[in-house]
Symmetry: C2
Subunit: 161 residues, 2 copies
Amino acid sequence: MPDEPRWLTDHERDAWLALAKLMFNLPSALDAQLLRDNHLTLFDYFVLSNLSMTPGRTMRLSDLASHLNCSLSRLSNVVKRLEQRGLLRRAPDPESSRYTVATLTDAGWDLVVAAAPGHVAAVRDYVIDGLTASQIDALREVACHVTRKISDIPEPNARNG
Amino acid sequence: MPDEPRWLTDHERDAWLALAKLMFNLPSALDAQLLRDNHLTLFDYFVLSNLSMTPGRTMRLSDLASHLNCSLSRLSNVVKRLEQRGLLRRAPDPESSRYTVATLTDAGWDLVVAAAPGHVAAVRDYVIDGLTASQIDALREVACHVTRKISDIPEPNARNG
DNA sequence: CCGATGAAGTTCAAGCTTGAACCTCATGGA
DNA sequence: TCCATGAGGTTCAAGCTTGAACTTCATCGG
């Protein structure tokens, strides 16, 4: 427990609160568009989209999970539902029967193709359009900084000095 | 349906994917710290923190809900749990019996005071520290831009031109 | 060849969010 | 006075996420 915590300055707090608001509301805004127009959550879309960009439209579930930074448990549930809807198929990996691969079906491909324009338009509308090139640059830098810090997770409370 | 959607450039896509990763993972990282150290979710913390900064430590639920950009239904559930834990109390608003106000208890205040340093340290660690002043500025501008676009929601698909 | 270890994936219970239905209270019109 | 309207809140069912327990498969040591 530190003697005197380093509180945020006004400048920092404004930035943090704005980011927090974004973090709370952007996912549901993007979910809403995809659910309304394509009956997909953003997470579903990312799963299908990742498969669609892979040669063979096929990935191991464990690779997909680390790409998406999600638990295998969550992915397993989502993939099961997507399979029930006929958007992808699961099969044991022919190269090593201890993996499972997911393969996008034609219906899944068609759905990604149909959903992409609306989704990209929403991303443009909510995020990208209206920003200058240097703001987009700064956004990328800041977001990468944050995700790097998060995935490090060396030991949040390490204070052995 | 647009003839040819305006896909993202590489530059734009890098920024968007980084933001998406942040959006998916920062909430759980901050939740994890608060849950581990104070048995609070980030949303719980915001509720208590908002009350703690209000004169009288009291707010109407509907005001709280619009401050937090959340549904009244969600807030009602969360407030019920926080009340069961003795962190706040609900009561009809003395000024107009059709409102309900939530008031932070002493235990709730103590918990916010105890939780704040660790939470701020996590925000610093994951987000603020390591950014330059101009990056913090850009973060605020970009995040405000996004939240403004979201809360507008004039008509996502309006294309009557 | 056999058992131990560990990674990949599934399942289940518990908890949370959402949206719809519902209740209550205040206001406004007849 | 009485009913209609509508905002504030609550509740309930349905769906999703999480973490733990469990199964299966491959690798490694004896």
